[in-house]
């Protein structure tokens, strides 16, 4: 057992002299991914339709990272990813329409989403240590969100949707510039994810994910850390949704619908690897490409997502990134073991 004081140390920091390399090791993958993704517009900048698809892909990467904090880190199955993003999107759009500048309304949208997500998390974890209530409460919230958007026509435009004018003539219009905005968002989210992993929050998250009861006994307030994860992840979803609303210039009831957002995010995250840093990004890239290939089979894509959910959870629950990591560390361990036996 480690003493409470030691738990706040960053991962891998065995002594102060190790600080710099471990910091580098922690954040280098993010830099590499950012560099690779920054090159994407060079190949596609002449095709506006392709760029639109790619930007949506980046949006989903941001969603998936946020969802990873909630689901991957603390095991809360939030079935309202789309609704939380929609809270951010709609509230930010409505505020901007009333004259609030975009730079204020986007964080406000995120804040509202964070509060709602934190509240849902609080209700679900308050009494029991049961995943079931999280699922039920968040699904019911998805339905409420949907009815609210359709019902409050005066605010949201109902079925016809809402035109968002604040983002025009800014960095968010056009194709290439907003791509870099969304890339920056994804990179920021990745950095935040890694920073959380290395902080005392990360320790608590890992402890409660591995064994809830043991974590609770070791003095981790499981309910409180779950609510923290709900707050942070929901806020991130809200900001991503708000940014997208201003970029797209139009949002409607289907922009953040359950079937369009939640199911896809779940598939992307599970495919890439729940609880891994780069899993959500990999999942978003793979499924954005797959979506583009299958663009002709509209409803069948939904079927494909359903089949993928079933297949992934039955046979490949670990995801690509964790599997690769295990394979690599095994390879690394094997030569080490052989040299050891040689020494013997």
């Amino acid at each position: 057992m480690t003493a409470p004081g030691q738990t706040s140390r960053p991962v891998g920091a065995r002594s102060p002299s190790w600080q710099a390399p471990s910091l580098l090791r922690g954040y280098a993958p993010i830099g590499a991914v950012a560099l690779l993704l920054a090159l994407v517009p060079i190949f596609f900048q002449n095709s506006p339709s392709r760029m639109t698809v790619i930007i949506v892909g980046m949006l989903f990467a941001a969603y998936a990272i946020s969802f990873n904090i909630i689901f991957g880190s603390t095991g809360q199955l939030f079935l309202c990813t789309g609704a939380l993003a929609g809270i951010g999107g709609f509230s930010s759009a409505i505020l901007s329409e009333r004259g609030v500048p975009m730079l204020v309304s986007i964080p406000l949208g995120g804040l509202l989403a964070a509060l709602v997500g934190g509240l849902l998390s609080w209700v679900a974890v308050r009494r029991s240590l049961d995943t079931i209530f999280t699922g039920v409460v968040t699904l019911a919230f998805s339905l409420s969100y949907d009815n609210l958007v359709l019902g409050r026509k005066d605010l949201t435009g109902g079925e016809t949707g809402l035109r968002v004018g604040a983002g025009s003539d800014t960095i968010l219009t056009d194709q290439v510039k907003p791509y870099y905005v969304f890339l920056a968002l994804v990179v920021a989210y990745l950095v935040l994810y890694r920073a959380i992993q290395r902080s005392h929050l990360g320790w608590a998250f890992r402890a409660l994910r591995d064994d809830e009861v043991a974590a609770e006994l070791a003095g981790v307030n499981v309910a409180r850390y779950r609510v923290y994860a709900g707050l942070i992840g929901s806020g991130m979803l809200g900001i991503a949704g708000a940014l997208f609303a201003h970029h797209r210039g139009f949002i409607g009831p289907t922009t953040y619908a359950f079937g369009d957002v939640d199911v896809r995010v779940l598939v992307m995250l599970t495919f890439g690897g729940v609880g891994s840093l780069l899993g959500p990004v990999l999942g978003a890239i793979v499924f954005t490409i797959l979506d583009e290939i299958l663009v002709g089979f509209n409803q069948l894509r939904i079927v494909l997502y359903g089949v993928t959910i079933v297949a992934l959870f039955l046979g490949f629950r670990r995801g690509v990134i964790p599997t690769l990591e295990t394979a690599r560390s095994k390879k690394r361990r094997t030569p080490a073991a052989s040299t050891k036996s040689a020494e013997d």
Binding site: G75, N147, G151, Q299, T308, V310
Partner: protein, 285 residues
């Protein structure tokens, strides 16, 4: 006001029957069937297709119910096998996610093949006056179906050997096993029965409002709320919660607006979870 409350009871009986199927499956195996509403829609669409092919209602309904029961049986025998091998939280999570996948598949297939299909059953007859309010015959027949099904379930669980075996598995799986009950058989049967109940809800509901292809998720969520408020695993709790929520939602829809009903339902579920996590009539440890 009386009319609104009576409408609420009509809706509530449908909700109760919807919740019962979900609550039984969860109580038995810990699987939260997120495809329950889609089962109902699937049953409805099978019946609607048969009616389109000019079969009579008396042929279409049994065929539809048998079809959806077989789908339930098949899913339990294949997809749910690995779920039941797990224990505790892991079982709950895997069951829930797999059924979410199944629900998505059903949704996608139906929207792809029959995007504008809908089931509505019209029953001819004059409105019947009840408590000074003339009620449409369709709603009454639908409520009758729900009541009969509920009474049948009550008798089944109270007096039949298999029903008592089912209750014993809900209470204590290991204990039931020691008494010579095979939980797997009970689970499979009840899973199929729950799918049939979903189909029955679709029929009862189609008498007051059309069942559309895209309505599955909505029905699932309503079933979840009813099951949570009533207490997961409790049949009478589901009916009680169904009627309560039905009345609450029609009254609030009448006085505030229909968009508010799902928020009130959500709030009811949240309050129940916070103050009475085991539900109105739940008896889980």
């Amino acid at each position: 006001m009386t009319a609104v409350v009576l409408d609420g009871i009509v809706l509530g009986l449908q909700l109760g029957l919807l919740g019962v199927g979900l609550t039984l499956v969860y109580g038995l195996g810990g699987v939260l069937n997120l495809a329950h509403g889609q089962f109902a829609v699937l049953g409805a669409i099978v019946i609607a297709r048969m009616l389109d092919a000019s079969f009579s209602l008396w042929v279409a309904i049994p065929v539809g119910l048998v079809c959806i029961g077989l789908v339930g049986l098949l899913i339990d025998l294949t997809l749910m096998r690995p779920v039941y091998k797990l224990r505790g939280e892991e079982r709950v999570l895997l069951g829930l996610l797999l059924m979410l996948g199944v629900g998505t598949i059903i949704d996608g297939l139906l929207e792809w093949r029959y995007p504008i299909e809908a089931l509505s059953i019209r029953i001819s007859g004059d409105p019947v006056p009840i408590l000074g309010v003339s009620m449409r015959i369709g709603g009454l027949v639908g409520s009758g179906i729900a009541l009969v099904a509920g009474a049948a379930l009550f008798v089944f669980f109270r007096f039949s050997t298999f029903g008592r075996a089912t209750r014993s598995v809900i209470q204590d799986e290991e204990g039931a096993r020691l008494c010579g009950i095979n939980p797997a058989t009970v689970r499979t049967t009840i899973f199929a029965l729950s799918a049939v109940l979903a189909g029955l809800v679709a029929i009862a509901r189609a008498m007051t409002a059309p069942i559309v292809v895209t309505g599955g998720v909505r029905l699932t969520i309503l079933a979840l709320i009813v099951a949570v408020v009533g207490g997961l695993g409790s049949v009478s709790g589901a009916f009680l919660a169904g009627i309560l929520l039905g009345v609450v939602s029609t009254v609030s829809a009448f006085y505030i607006g229909s968009y508010i009903t799902s928020i009130i339902l959500l709030a009811t579920a949240a309050i129940t979870i916070v103050f009475r996590p085991s539900g109105l009539l739940g008896h889980r440890p």
